[in-house]
């Protein structure tokens, strides 16, 4: 009944130049992509690392192949944005597919294989994570599985490059799987009827009909342009009529039939020994999510990170670099060279003056922020690869309900502590538009990025613990208040929480280091030019006397309302370019002894809640549209100054000495 509608050879010739790496979430697609193309793709141990399509090239026998790495897919029926991207890529044009499957979770991989077969995609099944399957006492009969499916199956341990050559050799042998699903008569009849109504020039008509019946709305929209409204109406009627005849929802019947078939196929190939004792990694994984023991684990993780980032990097590292390397060696040397070589006074000021490129931008970027960000990225990469972040999402599930969100939203929020710009993009893993808007707003409002966070922690480390408490309390309160208010205002309800927990894995040092270096490089490329631009703007403002004018204008706001000294204006001004740059300006003020304890706290709260940086703003425009993005930025800035001023008054009235 489910015989191929177009001969596989047609698909194969068209697909020769394109290779798509796809599969269930968190099975190692990006590792394999990296091995095939030699291009780095971010690899972590949680579902949702890849949210956009990465592209690369591999050569095979002198032939260039375009390779795409897709976000994880559980089914071609796509719900969230990242799945839609992957599905679109698979159905848009003919291509060869390397399906990466988790060997220990064979049924699930095969359910997707069967769906790819229905989409007439020639594929190879790369059965990854064979080591984890072996640990659990499972063995897979590769030959039998390959024969039953009708496609090449390659066992692999991608992180150790095992099976890579076999996979390269198997790619030319990719074909459409012959294993097919026998659907119940209700479904088959409806599919037959819809095939009759679909114009013959629509490729892979069967999968379009099946997706339609499975309730996929997007397939109607994206493919709808090829279909006349009359056809769309006929199809809708046919689907509705078929559903009326069936007792069970058709989407369920389709899924059930597919999984039954996958289970039969897997049962033939899989031999499971007695289940092994829970491993130590598994026990740690359970401990990290335990309602009671999870809390000390979380506190321990936070304490170690605080010590590494806030103390080791932000205090000792920055102290050494700023005072000794820059303060005693580099800057005096630069001053000497510039005064000797540049005769004009304004030229000297541009390079080594108060707002000089060499005396301000350079040490801010490399002495203050680089060590902090580097250490943070290192810690973060470790947590990502161990698989702690999804467990954190479970622990924070309750807290997230306070923000009007479900636990899955923790992931972008926590990633925001690394970089708010990338985190704004990660909102794609969330199911509803409401959640995506809400998380984007909270990211812009109160989640400091690693660079900013490091500087903030360094400033707070010099204050009594009460200062840290006030800062945390005010920012946390703002997140809850704004989250609750927005959750009530935005239409729709909290989307249900469903998140996959990956196993705890031993992180690979090489991957953590590569990831950290990659992120640092990206940081340097993105942030440092902005630092120089900001410094240049400040210098021009200062030289033209504009800074004094701006300081006079904003005097009521900065000095009277926030109670800060006038030079803080410059910090807020450059904070418009990057929040961490602004925070670094405040840090420099504090080190110079220009801020009292209360002023430190007020300025930190204000700069934390302050506008998103330029890059994040652009990402917000890209993901949410310029109207929403601008509205959020305006709201956030107004709130920042409002709360900062209120806090200053509260501290003064209460007479809190910090």
């Amino acid at each position: 009944m489910s015989a191929p509608l177009c001969p596989p050879s047609v698909a194969e010739t068209a697909a020769a130049a394109r290779l798509i790496v796809t599969g269930n979430p968190n099975v190692g697609k990006s590792v394999l992509f990296q091995l095939l193309t030699g291009r780095y793709a971010t690899v972590s141990n949680y579902p949702g690392t890849t949210v956009m399509v990465d592209r690369g090239v591999m050569t095979r026998g002198g032939v260039r192949l375009d390779v795409c790495d897709t976000p994880g897919l559980n089914s071609l029926v796509a719900i969230s944005d990242d799945e839609r991207v992957a599905r679109q890529l698979l159905l848009d044009r003919a291509a060869t597919v390397v399906q990466v499957g988790d060997a220990k979770n064979l049924v699930r991989a095969l359910a997707l294989t069967l769906e790819l077969a229905e989409a007439m995609l020639p594929s190879v099944l790369a059965l990854n994570l064979m080591d984890e399957a072996r640990e659990r006492g499972m063995t897979v009969a590769i030959g039998e599985l390959s024969a039953a499916l009708g496609i090449p199956v390659v066992p692999m341990v991608a992180t150790r490059r095992q099976g890579l050559e076999a996979l390269r050799a198997a790619i030319p042998a990719a074909r459409v799987a012959t294993a097919a699903v026998a659907y119940p008569p209700e479904v088959e009849e409806a599919v037959e009827a819809m095939l009759g109504a679909l114009p013959p020039d629509v490729p892979t008509r069967r999968v379009v009909a099946l997706l339609w019946l499975a309730g996929d709305r997007a397939v109607r929209q994206t493919r709808g342009w090829r279909l006349s409204p009359a056809v769309v109406e006929t199809l809708t009627c046919l689907a509705a009529a078929a559903q009326a005849k069936a007792a069970v929802p058709l989407p369920r019947l389709i899924q059930q039939a597919r999984w039954d078939q996958a289970q039969r196929l897997a049962a033939r190939a899989l031999a499971a020994a007695a289940p092994a004792r829970p491993s130590r990694a598994r026990r740690w994984g359970e401990l990290a999510m335990h309602p009671i023991w999870g809390v000390p684990v979380l506190l321990g993780v936070l304490a170690v990170m605080y010590w590494l980032v806030g103390d080791l990097a932000a205090q000792r590292g920055v102290g050494f670099l700023e005072e000794i390397v820059f303060g005693r060696v580099l800057i005096p040397a630069a001053r000497g060279v510039v005064t000797a070589l540049v005769p004009w006074r304004w030229g000297q000021a541009l390079l080594v003056g108060e707002y000089g490129l060499l005396t301000m931008a350079w040490p801010y970027a490399f002495a203050i922020i680089l060590p902090i960000v580097g250490m943070f990225f290192l810690c973060f990469g470790f947590l990502e690869d161990v698989g702690y972040l999804p467990r954190l999402a479970v622990m924070a599930h309750r807290g997230c309900r306070l923000l009007g969100l479900n636990g899955k939203a923790v992931l972008p929020l926590v990633l925001g502590l690394g970089c708010d710009t990338m985190a704004t993009m990660t909102t794609r893993i969330l199911d509803s538009r409401r959640d995506r808007v809400l998380v984007t707003l909270l990211l812009a409002l109160g989640i400091p990025c690693s660079a900013q966070l490091g500087v903030i922690l360094a400033m707070l480390a010099g204050q009594p613990p009460l200062a840290l408490g006030i800062w945390l309390g005010v920012v946390g309160l703002m997140l809850v208040v704004v989250g609750q208010a927005a959750a009530r205002l935005l239409p729709g309800e909290t989307s249900p929480f469903l998140y996959e927990i990956p196993p705890i894995r031993r992180p690979r040092l090489a991957n953590i280091l590569t990831k950290t270096v990659g992120r640092l490089e990206w940081y340097l490329k993105e942030a440092v030019p902005l630092f120089f631009l900001g410094t240049l703007l400040l210098f021009l403002l200062d030289a033209s006397g504009g800074l004094r004018v701006v300081e006079r204008w904003t005097r009521p706001l900065v000095v009277s309302w926030l109670g800060l000294p006038t030079p803080a204006t410059a910090a807020f001004l450059i904070g418009f370019l990057r929040r961490d740059f602004g925070a670094a300006g405040l840090f420099a003020l504090q080190r110079a002894g220009a801020l009292s304890g209360a002023q430190v706290v007020v300025s930190l709260v204000t700069i934390t809640l302050f506008v998103p940086c330029v890059a994040q703003y652009f990402m917000m425009i890209k993901e949410r549209g310029w109207r929403v993005a601008t509205g959020m930025a305006g709201l956030v800035t107004a709130l920042a100054f409002l709360v900062g001023g209120l806090l200053f008054r509260l501290l003064t009235i209460a007479g809190v000495a910090l």
């Binding site: 719900i79 929802p249 369920r252 999984w259 999510m289 309602p291 249900p496």
Partner: protein, 157 residues
């Protein structure tokens, strides 16, 4: 037996409150200063455990049972909601009922479908179930939307 009734640990006599009063009447100590319970039949006396101690004891025994399969009374219903499974217990999905079709689609796509076995691993702070080698975190709603047939009830008889 009402939960407040006390039994003598030595002779297993069920003590009614008036028996207790009778035992105290024969005793030289003042009842207000004494927390001991005295059995009027055998004369054995002991101290009743406080609610706190009972709670700790119950928590401790539940903890020790967690690894094993918990005993299931034969009269327990065959199909229960996910929330009613004991920690660590296995069940076969019987049906899924939700007014959120996209959610059902998602659950189905990761293999939570009628006929598949699942195991309840954790209840707090989120429900965690294991299906095959997939571990899923779900919110409390799901506890009332997924119905499972208890495995022990099926095979135990």
């Amino acid at each position: 037996m009402t939960p407040t009734a006390v039994r003598c640990p030595l002779c297993n006599l069920a003590l009614a409150p008036q028996d207790q009063a009778a035992a105290c009447a024969r005793c030289p100590f003042r009842p207000s200063d004494c927390h001991a319970i005295c059995c009027p039949r055998c004369g054995y006396s002991w101290v009743a455990s406080s609610p706190l101690v009972r709670r700790i004891a119950r928590w401790w025994s539940a903890r020790r049972r967690r690894g094993e399969r918990p005993p299931v009374a034969p009269a327990a219903p065959a199909v229960v909601s996910l929330a009613q499974l004991a920690l660590g217990e296995e069940g076969v999905v019987a049906s899924l009922q939700s007014r959120r079709p996209a959610y059902l689609q998602r659950l189905g796509a990761v293999g939570v479908l009628p006929g598949r076995r699942l195991r309840l691993r954790q209840r707090q702070p989120a429900l965690i179930i294991q299906v095959g080698e997939t571990e899923l975190a779900l919110d409390a709603h799901a506890g009332g939307e997924i119905f499972v047939r208890r495995v022990l009830w099926m095979t135990g008889s």
